[in-house]
């Protein structure tokens, strides 16, 4: 059931999402916005896995299973990251990455 959409379109979509995520991760000041960018990256990888699974190996399901695992890991990681952000806020009274540079030099 691949239809008329070529595989490359999915790959371009996921590459675009990946690099938008990276751009957001490297540029945004707010820690929570950085977290959202990370989710974008993870989702782009998910799209990659599912597309390859559907187009190259339609009889197997490993790709789908792996993207389920990635969703679970992303959720856990987001929870941990939120906990860290809350601790940073308690210590520095701010959630801007520029304020968290005590490890410099």
């Amino acid at each position: 059931m691949t239809g008329n959409i070529p595989l490359e379109s999915f790959l371009v979509l996921s590459t675009l999402m990946f690099f938008i995520g990276i751009f957001g991760f490297l540029t945004r000041r707010n820690l929570i916005t950085m977290l959202m960018s990370i989710e974008l990256i993870l989702n782009s990888v998910n799209i990659n896995f599912v597309a390859f699974n559907r187009y190259l190996y339609p009889d197997n399901l490993q790709g789908h299973f792996f993207s389920l695992i990635i969703i679970a890991v992303a959720a856990a990681e987001a929870a941990v990251a939120i906990a860290i952000i809350i601790n940073i806020y308690r210590n520095f009274k701010s959630i801007e990455v520029d304020q968290v540079n005590q490890m410099k030099n």
Binding site: F25, D98, Q102, M103
Partner: protein, 640 residues
């Protein structure tokens, strides 16, 4: 194992006593350390006498030569085929003689110190160091090879350092001990050079090999001659330099008078009877090599001995500190011993000098230890070292007086005391070899009698000084060693020494040469009479003579300015022109290079530090850029 294996206990017992009293002595009452030390020394003395009786009489066939016996040997460092350092015990006539001397005098000093050092802080430390010294000295005299002798030579120097500086809170004692150690260490530089040269030429350290008549030393040819003397002569002269430093020969004598800062028993043991004769023992040990291969080195030995004895005798006539008079007297008598060895030949009656030198070593140990311990008793009674503050002590210290008088008569060479016999043989040997040296020693004999009796009359006669508290005779524990040593001083002259200790081991007959003996006794008696006239009652004669001799008297009183000369050479010349430039180089150039390298690295790291800004996003950026670059290179650009 051979018949003499028990001699390994002789050096080991004092070592054990040193460790025991040194580590645990402070936990018990002080007297315990003294008793342990004395007990150990008694055993050592008994073993030494057993060894001597067995070696010289019961274990020896009449008329044959005394052979050297290696009682014990272990290999310590086996480095190469030629370089092996062994430790062991070698017994031959001079070694056994020294065993008797060292153990007897050390035992007397131990007993005496129980009384003399009573109440002193550090009593147990004193006995620990005395045992350390005895161990080192015994190891030195029993050494089988020259390297072992060097090891124990240094150990003896360390013990001397520790004992001179015993009163470590007195600055003069500390500087005296430093001076002693540095001067003897400097002399040991020559000793080490000599050892290296000798062992290089003969491929051995072992004494039995070195002195054997078909061994590599005596049959040695070759080696580059330098300034007319063969290489082996130079090696032996360097070795003698080490001996000259330890024996306080001119010009390395400056440490001996200052070493009197130590307690008097130390002066008796180390700086009169045992350590200072180590140089004489060294020359005696290598005597066949000296006599047969390098007679020029023996000339050096003889002249150094002669000059030292005259030099010291002149200075001793002017000193007022009783211990300093005895110290210069020691230097003078050791000069006698060195001269005696220097004028000696080898074999039979030619070896008269060798025999006489060793005999004088034996008798000198007895009477000089006696004199020093007597001086200690006097100091103990009067609480002063200066003879100008003493007088009329013969009424207060009877036993000390008699034994001190016996010691003075012995050193002056009055028959039938022992000093007469040994000194007479030295004069005969000198007469046959070199008339000038004989004349020097003859003069010194007269001077010796003069300054010793100057000392005696000033202390025991003269005007009655008013003492703060009446001096009292020393306790029995201090006077018994005096009496035993006096006994030794009187009777050791009757030992048939020429049948026991000779240059080649074979006994020979030595007779008194009346042509030499009578004048030497007369000049000794003359010295005594002059001293009696000048000092028995306090007169103005000494001051008038001092005034007449003016500059010469002042020079002698100031020890001929040798210390000032040494200070000048070291401070103005060596420090300013050698030490300071070297120190400057070390501080500025060597340290500067290290500092430069360090500073450069710090500057570089400061540059790199800028990369760590602490900003998470910058780290992420660098990471991702790097990854992308690697991907591009490895997937697209790297053409396999």
């Amino acid at each position: 194992m051979n018949a003499y294996s028990y001699t390994v206990l002789i050096p080991l017992i004092p070592l054990f006593v040193f460790l025991l009293t040194g580590l645990t002595g402070h936990k018990f009452k002080p007297l315990v350390s003294g008793l342990i030390g004395t007990a150990g020394l008694t055993i050592v003395a008994v073993l030494s006498y057993m060894t001597a009786i067995s070696y010289f009489w019961t274990g020896h066939v009449e008329g044959t030569a005394y052979e050297s016996v290696k009682a014990f040997e272990i290999t310590w460092l086996n480095l190469t085929e030629f370089l092996t350092i062994k430790l062991g015990i070698l017994l031959d006539p001079i070694a056994v003689m020294m065993l008797v001397v060292v153990s007897t005098v050390s035992l007397m000093v131990h007993i005496y110190s129980i009384g003399y050092m009573k109440g002193e802080r550090g009593f147990h430390r004193f006995f620990a160091f005395l045992s350390l010294f005895t161990f080192s000295m015994l190891g030195l005299v029993l050494a089988t090879n020259i390297f072992q002798m060097y090891i124990f030579w240094e150990l003896v120097g360390v013990s001397s350092f520790l004992l001179i500086g015993f009163y470590y809170q007195k600055p003069s004692a500390v500087s005296a001990s430093k001076k002693a150690f540095i001067v003897t260490r400097f002399a040991d530089l020559g000793f080490l050079i000599g050892i290296l040269m000798l062992s290089f030429m003969t491929n051995t350290f072992d004494f039995q090999t070195l002195v054997s008549s078909d061994g590599p030393a005596i049959t040695h040819t070759g080696g580059m001659a330098f300034m007319g003397l063969s290489a082996i002569t130079w090696a032996l002269i360097f070795i003698f330099m080490g001996g000259a430093g330890k024996s306080a020969m001119f010009p390395l004598h400056i440490w001996l008078p200052d070493a009197m800062e130590g307690p008097t028993p130390v002066s008796a043991l180390i700086h009169a009877a045992t350590m200072v004769v180590a140089g004489v023992y060294l020359v005696a040990r290598l005597f066949p090599v000296y006599a047969l291969v390098a007679p020029d080195a023996l000339t050096v030995v003889a002249w150094v001995g002669g000059i030292s004895s005259l030099f010291a005798a002149i200075i001793a006539c002017t000193q007022n500190d009783i211990k300093r008079v005895l110290a210069y007297s020691t230097m003078s008598q050791i000069g006698y011993m060195m001269l005696s060895l220097g004028v000696s030949g080898y074999g039979g009656h030619d070896g008269l000098g060798f025999m006489a030198g060793n005999w004088h070593l034996f008798t000198h140990a007895m009477f000089k230890a006696l004199l020093f311990l007597g001086a200690g008793a006097i100091i103990h009674a009067v609480h002063s070292n200066d003879m100008r503050e003493m007088g009329g002590l013969r009424k207060h210290l009877p036993i000390t007086h008699i034994t001190f008088l016996i010691g003075c008569l012995t050193i002056a060479g009055i028959p039938p005391l022992s000093g007469f016999f040994s000194k007479d043989e030295i004069l005969v040997a000198a007469l046959h070899h070199n008339k000038i040296l004989f004349a020097i020693e003859f003069l010194v004999a007269g001077l010796t009698a003069f300054y010793m009796f100057r000392l005696y009359f000033n202390i025991f006669w003269g005007k009655e000084t008013h003492y703060h508290h009446t001096p009292h005779e020393s306790p029995l524990v201090m006077t018994i060693p005096l009496m035993i040593l006096a006994f030794g001083a009187i009777f050791s002259g009757f030992l048939p020494f020429s049948e026991l200790v000779t240059s080649d081991g074979l006994p020979f007959e030595a007779h008194i040469n009346y042509a030499v003996a009578v004048p030497s006794v007369l000049i000794g008696v003359a010295g005594i009479l002059v001293a009696m006239v000048m000092y028995r009652k306090s007169t103005a004669i000494p001051d008038k003579i001092a005034a007449t001799m003016g500059g010469f008297y002042r020079g002698a009183y100031n020890k001929f300015y040798m210390d000032e000369l040494y200070l000048f050479v070291t401070k103005k010349i060596i420090f300013r022109y050698i030490s300071q430039p070297v120190a400057w180089f070390d501080r500025n150039i060597v340290d500067g290079t290290m500092n430069l390298i360090g500073n450069t690295i710090v500057a570089a790291s400061n540059l790199i530090k800028g990369f760590q800004s602490g900003k998470l996003q910058q780290y992420g950026y660098v990471f991702i850029t790097g990854t992308v670059a690697l991907v591009i290179i490895f997937i697209f650009l790297w053409q396999r």
